[in-house]
Every structure is written in structure tokens, then in C-alpha cells.
Point group: C2
């Protein structure tokens, strides 16, 4: 119904509309994962420490646990003399209280015994029999990490939204937390369309090419924090595409198709979406990527990307990925943007955004002048530049922002 | 034997010695993986395209396949008139040759028929019955991507050392390659030592703390491209540690232990290594991390990191990770380094490298002044600064390089 009335729109409008759809239709989900599998995941809730850390008054040096008052005024010539009543190693528990005139031999990490309020480093002491000579006065709390001084039970250890990295995973372990609620991965079904496509594992037949978008988009979706369902290759046929999209919507939160380069094939998707739901975007003033389609079926987004691998990947990264990243709890940008100098003058055309593939060469971005069907271009590229619609020329040496493909 | 003679060495020397051990003892291995699981992996070999791309002369526009010579001199008033003999969609094969005066209706992506040497865009034509009127002369090769023009069979598509990202995975698929040889993951056995440690999934007992280094180091090792074996928690006991290290060396390329904070516990590891092999580094002038040990047993590296979670993680990242990354085929640095301004003056001590935890606050790095046993510090930190050994003060506002924990 609405298909005919849709006009080619600016990239900015396409982003605004797509963003609005994402916020209207999707809510972040949560799931519980083991912290050993949680690297890169995003905490769904504030995490409180269930325990005091340290869980007891802990010696932070090797030496003697003493009553600080017993050491007042001690120096090398007039050491304080204390009687050692016990040895406490890390992992063991003191059995005796340190009363006046007494001390306990203690290791780093061991619990400080009752009665003691300071630890004297072994360097400032000497022993003779059970007598310990202290050469330096201790102040109360010296070299003791008090119970709960690091964090108290019930206090927030990590905030919702924290991306789990090795340091945060160590902190969770230290508090005895092994499973956490994280933002769940949006599931996306990837479908490649086109009569010319065959599986990369198959044999090339006359007139056919290998499907490259299934693998490329799957990989990009996984990097963006999604789980991927493979919808396979679908011919340019209304019924087949309709069936594949319905199956995809049943098992995933979103469907991303690409391709349909044969004449009129692009329209099949918009017709299917028009029947099943609605077409929201049909054509964006970008190059490559103009025939991009965004629609909604059953309150789920269906995207139709162009078929050429360069176009499909760049339009995905530029238009869709930021919203998917936000949905999976990440920052909108992967952060893989580098400011470089352009190595060669680049021409663009006014009135539309132009994506230019570039190689990174030291501090320079070197444009790759190949058409968007070229696979070798993709093999040789390190990323792309988004040339704004009102810019016709970027001169050699000008600074450009390169969005990198590699996300190491 | 050699243990007693080892002195505390500078970080630079420790890095040089560790790097030398890695290059003497390890060679990169390779394994074959499916490209759908290859994101972030590093190609072990040059990959040649097994096919020409495009695999046939391909139309790059919708229109008519013609003999260019038949269109010479055509314009709107004197169009060339050709007879259309067939229609070729993408994915199908032409059956008829385009002889003089003939043409074929063709879709983007379809094979160009025998005899034709150009494609005229549909915009410059009109049809009446089987007659096609061409309003504009075509030049030979116009709008045709010739077979092999993108890449020829046998030519290198991707070089050894390429990190596989979505664009590269798409390029491999396009060439029909679904499995590739990549640098294999070094396997590392992680062992936590200390009588005070219990599993984070367990119940806290008096005098005990949860083991945080197993999970933290596992996560860091996975990020660096390793597969991790869990050696568990080992008590500060010569026989137990010896057994755990031997088991670890049997199943992994390397063993990384941490902890042993009780008095004398640090020496158990060096004694075990001295019996089984040799101690190469025993103490580094860094803070925290001074008691770090590096040894060799059965031509495999055994590392003893300090027990405090902050220390263990930072020493791993600073001393060991770069070499592990190189072994797994990655760049030595994860690239997660940010140049920021110091938010607050930082004091260090001459003669040793000082690692300072910081929070990132906009363009500023704010030092976290907590001891290295503090878990809350790790929970609140975003990364660390390495203060060189000859620097005593970094002033507020000075630029510092922050190594970030998060590797999104």
C-alpha cells in the first residue's frame, strides 16, 4: 500500500527513523551467564557485594601483630619487648588473643588476632627465643586492611551497564560472585536473496556466484553483540522470500536480508513487507546502498541491504549496527574510528553521502577506487570514510575519520 | 641451584629476557577453522582465490547487452535499432549469441552473452515490440565487469597475518572458501596458589578469601587469543604445587600461577622450578609486582605472578600479554591505549616502575589511591598508567598513556 509513496531520504533522516523504530519496538533483555563466559558482556543490574572485603582484618605485611600501645616510644636502642604466642599464616585462623605485652607472628593476608591493632613489619624487629624486639613504634591500624574497608557487604561493587573485562571479572570473583545478569544478545536472522547465489561450500555453476553476505554480516552481527540465525539463501521469489522472512521473525528479534540484484528483485522485498507489515524506508541517498529498505512486521524490524558485499557491510555498519550495539548494551560506536590524513584526493557528488573504501597506510588513508561489486577491494580495505552529502572534494592531506573493519 | 644468585632486575630487562624465552621456546602453530568461527583469528597462510571473480563477464547495470559497434553514432534523434532476442536475469545463463543488429535484455549481475561487448543502461533506451531503440553510443566493455577483473584464480586474495574481520570473511566467502588455516591459540594453564583461597562458588570460611585471579587471568588470556586450562587452587605446599605445575605442563603450552602471599610461599615456586627446570627471573623492580617469577620447565614457560588481583592482572598485561599476543598472531599491543591528562598529581618512587590504577573521566585520568589488595579499586578502575622508573612526579594536567582494561 504505502510503498509507492516512499521517497529516497537523506542518511540523517534514515538514521533518525531507524533509531526511533529501535526504541519503539525493542527493550533490552537479560540473561544469566557464568562469569567465565562473560567477557565483553554488559551488566544488566547493579551488583552488590554479598560479603565484606576483606572478610576479616587482614595483615598487609609479613611481621608481628601487636597492640600499638605496647610499642610507643620504641627505637633501635630501646626496643619494645613482646612475647610471641603464636604464628598465623594466610588461610589459617588465630586461636589466641594478643593481650598486653604479647604479639603474634603473622603473614601477609592472614587474619589479625583479637587484641592486636597493628602489624609491625618484620624488617623492624628481631627475635630471640620467644621474645620479639620491636625497634619502631606502630600506630593503630598500621598495615591492617580492616574488614569491609575495601567494600562492605550490600554496597554496590559494579554498576549496571559495566562492560565486563578481566579486571571486573576478577572483582566479581573476589566477592564470590560466579553468575551475573547481563544484557541478552539480540537474535538476528540473516537471509541472502538472489537467484545467482550459491552456498560458498558448493560448486560454482555457470551464471552463479558465491553468497558472501551471509558470512560477512553474521560476523559483523556477532561483533556487535548478537546471536545469529542463518536463514540461508532465498531465490527472488515472492513466496519464498515471504516464507523465509516469516520463519526468521519466528525465531529471531530481527531479520536482515541482502541482495536481490536482478531487475525488480528489490521490489519483491518491499511488496512482501507491505503485505506482512509496512515499509518505512525505501531508498537512501547514499552511495553505495541507495536501494536499502527498512520495514516492520509483527513489531520486528526487517532490513533489506543491497547485494554487493561492500555495500551490504557498509550500510549495515553505518545505519544498523549502532542501534544493535545499543540494544545489546554496548556503546553505539565500536570505537574503531581513526583520524588519518587522506593520501589522495577524493571526489564525491553533492546531495548524497558517499562511502569510500580506504587502506590504512601509516598515518594515511588511501582510497580504493573500485566498484562496490569488487571483492578484491574488500580484501584490500581496512575501513571506510563517510563523505558528507555537501562535500564534493576532500583534498590530499585533509584529515578524515576512518571507520575500521577490524575490531581487535 | 641458580635461585640464590638471581637479583631483582629492571622491567626493561625482564621484558627483554621474557621476549627472548618466548622466541626461543615457542613457534606459532596452525589449525583449520570454519570462517563462521574465524572472527578475530589470524590467517596462517596466504589465501589464493580458487576461482576468477567475477566468474563470468557480468553486467553491472540493468539494460541491454549489445555489440558496441552497433551503437556508434546513435543519439536521441537517430537511435540505433536492435532486435531483442532474449532476457537474461541474474543467476541464469544466456542461450543465444548476440550477432550484428541484435541485443539481449540483461539484469545487473547476469552473465553477458557471447557476441556482446557492452551494456547500455535501460535509462537510455526504449522498447517497441521486440525492437529496442538505443539513444546513446556504448563503448566496448561499458558496464561489464570482465571475468577475473576483480581477482584471478590463483592470485592472492588475503595475505598470511591478516586478522579476519567481517569484510575479510565476506571476501573469503565470495571466493567459495569456507575453511582457513589460522594461527592456533596457545594453551595456558592457570593456577592460583595460597592456603587462604577458596573457589568463588564456595562458602567463605574464617581466614579465607575467594580466588579472583583464576577468573580474571582466564578472561585476560582469552582476550589475548589463548585457550585456557583451569589448574584450580593449589595450597602453599611444595608437592602440591610441583604436581599441579607438571599436570599443567602436560596439557598446556605454558603455566601461569599467581599468589602464595604467605611468608615463604613465594619461594616454594622458585624451589619447584629450580628442581624441575630453571628460574630465569626472580623479582622485578616494579610496584606492584616485585615478587614476579619467570622460569622454564621442559622448554615451556612457567610464570609466577603476585597474588593480589590488581598486581596479578597488571603484571600479566605489562610483561606477559604482549608476547602471548604475538604468539597467537596478533599485534603485540591490544591497541587499548588512550592518551589522557592526569587529573591529580601522582607521586612515584625513583628506581622502579610504578603502575597506577586510574579511572577515565572524560579527557582525564584520575588516579585511584588504594593498595593493590583492594578489589573495589579494580572494580572502579578503567586502566593503568606505567610510570617510568626515573619519574618521581607526574603533575596534574600532564599527558599520560592509559592502558585500558576494557577491550570492546
Amino acid at each position: 500500500m504505502g510503498v509507492e509513496f516512499l521517497e529516497i531520504i537523506d542518511l540523517d533522516d534514515a538514521r533518525r527513523i531507524t533509531g526511533k523504530l529501535f526504541s519503539e519496538l525493542y527493550r533490552q533483555g537479560t540473561e544469566t551467564v557464568d562469569i567465565l563466559d562473560a567477557d565483553g558482556r554488559v551488566l544488566a543490574d547493579d551488583i552488590e557485594s554479598p560479603v565484606d572485603l576483606p572478610p576479616f582484618d587482614r595483615a598487609s605485611r609479613d611481621g608481628y601483630a601487636v597492640r600499638a600501645a605496647d610499642t610507643f616510644g620504641a627505637d633501635e636502642e630501646n626496643p619494645a619487648t613482646l612475647r610471641c604466642i603464636e604464628t598465623v599464616e594466610a588461610g589459617s585462623v588465630p586461636s589466641l588473643e594478643v593481650a598486653e605485652g604479647l604479639c603474634t607472628r603473622i603473614s601477609t593476608g592472614a587474619p589479625v588476632p583479637e587484641g592486636a591493632d597493628a602489624v609491625v613489619m618484620v624488617e623492624y624487629t628481631w627475635e630471640e627465643g620467644d621474645q620479639v624486639y620491636i625497634q619502631k613504634p606502630a600506630y593503630p591500624s598500621q598495615h591492617i586492611a580492616a574488614r569491609g574497608s575495601d567494600i562492605r557487604a550490600g554496597n554496590v561493587l559494579l554498576r549496571a551497564g559495566t562492560v565486563l573485562s578481566p579486571d571486573k571479572i576478577a572483582a566479581l570473583s573476589a566477592a564470590g560472585i560466579t553468575r551475573v545478569n547481563v544484557i541478552s544478545k539480540p537474535s538476528v536472522c540473516v537471509i541472502s536473496t538472489g537467484n545467482e547465489l550459491i552456498e560458498p561450500s558448493g560448486q560454482l555453476e555457470p551464471g552463479k556466484i558465491f553468497d558472501s553476505n551471509s558470512a560477512g554480516l553474521s560476523s559483523a552481527l556477532k561483533e556487535a553483540g548478537c546471536s545469529v540465525k542463518h536463514g540461508g539463501i532465498v531465490r527472488d521469489d515472492y513466496g519464498e522470500l515471504r516464507g523465509a522472512i516469516l520463519r526468521g521473525l519466528e525465531e529471531a528479534d530481527m531479520v536482515i536480508t541482502s541482495g536481490g540484484t536482478s531487475a525488480g528483485a528489490g521490489d519483491i522485498l518491499s511488496e512482501v513487507l507491505d503485505e506482512l507489515g509496512r515499509v518505512v524506508i525505501h531508498g537512501i541517498s547514499i552511495k553505495p546502498g541507495k536501494p536499502t529498505i527498512v520495514g516492520v512486521v509483527d513489531d520486528k524490524i526487517v532490513v533489506g541491504l543491497p547485494g554487493f558485499p561492500v555495500s551490504a557491510l557498509i550500510v549495515f555498519m553505518s545505519l544498523i549496527e549502532p542501534f544493535i550495539r545499543k540494544l545489546s548494551g554496548r556503546k553505539a560506536s565500536s570505537g574503531q574510528v581513526k583520524t588519518l590524513k587522506l593520501a589522495e584526493r577524493l571526489h564525491s557528488s553533492r546531495g548524497r553521502v558517499h562511502y569510500a573504501l580506504v587502506m590504512v597506510d601509516g598515518d594515511y588513508a588511501r582510497p580504493i577506487f573500485k566498484d562496490s561489486g569488487a571483492v578484491a577491494a574488500l580484501a584490500g580495505a581496512d575501513g571506510y570514510i563517510e563523505v558528507p552529502k555537501n562535500v564534493e572534494i576532500i583534498n590530499e592531506g585533509e584529515e578524515v575519520e576512518v571507520v575500521l573493519f577490524e575490531n581487535q
